[in-house]
Each structure stands twice: as structure tokens, then as C-alpha cells.
Amino acid sequence: MAKFKPYFEIDIPKEYGPDERRAIAAEIIDEIIKRTESGLDANGDKFQKYSKEYAKEKGQSNVDLTFSGDMLAQIELLQERSGKLRIGIDPGYEGIGKVEGNVLGTYGNNSPVTKPRNFLGITENELKRITKNYPVDDKAERKQRVAEITTADIVAREILNQVGFDDEA
């Protein structure tokens, strides 16, 4: 059996510079997580339902591949170069078996035991929706989008500094 690759690669226009590639990757990762949490796989199809036993243990029947939340939080930009993005999960991640189980449907077995729940990927429509904000023929517009994404990230982290737990009211 071929070695499991916990990532996918996307071809993007070679006109995009490193900042643009990183901004696009960040948008793709957010989109993957949002889509997965809404119960849709990398093709935009509904995930295979959980078994009754697992749904009971998890305390919910809607499939969002989120138990501790750790697996989806591991998705990252693994590599970017001219015309190419590689997005996925570091093969050294301790929960990589869980990733493989979901993506291939193997869950610890040598061959699939259920329909895979592949969350690693992006649909053509999702990619189009993201890249339309980075028009190849308008560098200024692309730069503006990168600045917007960066600003939103900076301000969100500033807000996060004011988020936490209190002992009481």
C-alpha cells in the first residue's frame, strides 16, 4: 500500500508572490476547518455518519471530526513555492493515525472499514471563491487583500489578549 500522505497540493498561478501564497493558504485552511465542522468532506459531500456507539461516546451525532479539536487545529501550510501550495498535517503529529483513519477510512486497519471521511482538500468552487480576491491581473488588489487578511489576524489576536477566565463575576 502506498505511504499515506497527510497533505494535498494545489496549483496556483505563478504570478502570486510568497505573501500572497501564505495569505491564500490561510484562507484555504480556515475554509477547510469551517467546511469540516459543518459536516462536509473535501469534495463537498456529507461525511459518513458516526456509528451509534461513537456518537454516544462523543455526545453528538453530527459529524464534525472534532473530539478534542486537536486534529483540525493541526492543519497548516507545509510548503509554498512558485505556483504550488502544500497544505496538510505534519507527518510527525502524534495523532497522525487518527488523520489516516479518517482520510482513508481505515481506522487502524490495513484496508478501509468504512467510507473515508476525507477532510484534507479543497473543492474547485471553494478555491475559486478564495482566489477571486487575488486577481492575477491586478497586483494592487492582491496586495490590498493580503493587507486585509494580515490586519484582521493582528486585530483578532489583540482581542484574544482580552479573552480568558475569571474566578467569579
Binding site: 476547518i33 454516544k56 479539536g69 490586519t151 489576524d153 483578532a156 475569571d166 467569579e168 463575576a169
Partner: protein, 164 residues
């Protein structure tokens, strides 16, 4: 303009809108979802580090939980610690909006009967304080923090686009 100057300009342009956002229903939804995520994770038995909550040690307490299994809630197991014996402490958790953020806390509401049937001696906030000395559950996990950032970012991008 340099990229850093563009970022500063956008920040300046949206400053008032960000202040308004901090008191908006959209941001309150982020807080509410953060609370839901926190409770889900704790009920599944995870600490903020995502390692398992320290196991229950007292045999007598485990037996008490076994006898009252039906009261432990949908994810409750007699031998597993998930901060849910009667469920009152986690049910007393609320969020409070702050000028540019929010906090979660256990409200000091009165408790009804304990799992043993005994009358409560502590309120929920006091139980939380006692509980957290042995099991430090009251913090966000990395995925929870990332989700808050993601949700806020999404809202902020809408604000930035509106301000253009």
C-alpha cells in the same frame, strides 16, 4: 505605500468599527460559542493541554458515581473524570462581555442536592475553585483559541470590506 503602512491605515480606518464590534451580537456569539466549545471539551474529559483530566482516585467516590450513573449526564462515566457529577458547576458557567474581549466564569449560584443526596455546603463558584486546585480545567485549549481567532477574523474581514 509599504505593506506595513497599508496595514496601519486599515487598522486606523476600522478602529471605530472594531470598538462597535466588541459590543455587537456577532462578538457575543463568538463568546457564546467559546463557552460551548469549552464545556464540550471538558465533558469529553480533556484538560486545556488536551491530555486527559486527572483520573478519579477515591474508590468510594467512584462507587458513588456508579450508584448514580443515570445522573452523570450523556458523556458521564463512573470512573472517568469530566467535571460532571451533577453537572451543576458546568451548567453555572457563563460568559461576560468586556470592553474589547470576554471572560468565562462559574457563577456563584446555589447548588441543589449533591450526588450523595447531601445538602450542598458550597455554591458553584466555590466548587469550581476547589475543583480547579486538583484539575486545572479552566483555560482554553490551543484549538479553542484558534477557533476564537478564526471566528473574530471572519467578522473583522466583513468589517474591513464594508469600510472600503
Amino acid at each position: 505605500m509599504k505593506p506595513s503602512e497599508v496595514i496601519l491605515k486599515i487598522k486606523r480606518d476600522i478602529e471605530k468599527d472594531v470598538a462597535a464590534y466588541a459590543s455587537s451580537s456577532e462578538f457575543e456569539l463568538v463568546a457564546s460559542n467559546a463557552l460551548i466549545d469549552f464545556i464540550k471539551r471538558v465533558k469529553r474529559g480533556f484538560l486545556p493541554s488536551l491530555s486527559k483530566i486527572n483520573p478519579l482516585e477515591s474508590e468510594a467516590y467512584i462507587k458513588l458515581r456508579e450508584r448514580n450513573r443515570s445522573k452523570l449526564g450523556d458523556k458521564g462515566k463512573p470512573k472517568t473524570s469530566n467535571a460532571t457529577a451533577t453537572g451543576q458547576m458546568l451548567n453555572a458557567m457563563v460568559y461576560k462581555m468586556k470592553p474589547r474581549g470576554f471572560t468565562l466564569f462559574v457563577d456563584g449560584t446555589a447548588r441543589t442536592a449533591e450526588l450523595s443526596g447531601a445538602s450542598p455546603k458550597l455554591n458553584n463558584a466555590e466548587v469550581a475553585k476547589y475543583y480547579s486546585e486538583k484539575r486545572a480545567i479552566f483555560d482554553f485549549s490551543e484549538p479553542e483559541l484558534k477557533r476564537i481567532i478564526r471566528n473574530v477574523k471572519e467578522d473583522l474581514l466583513k468589517i474591513i470590506r464594508r469600510s472600503k
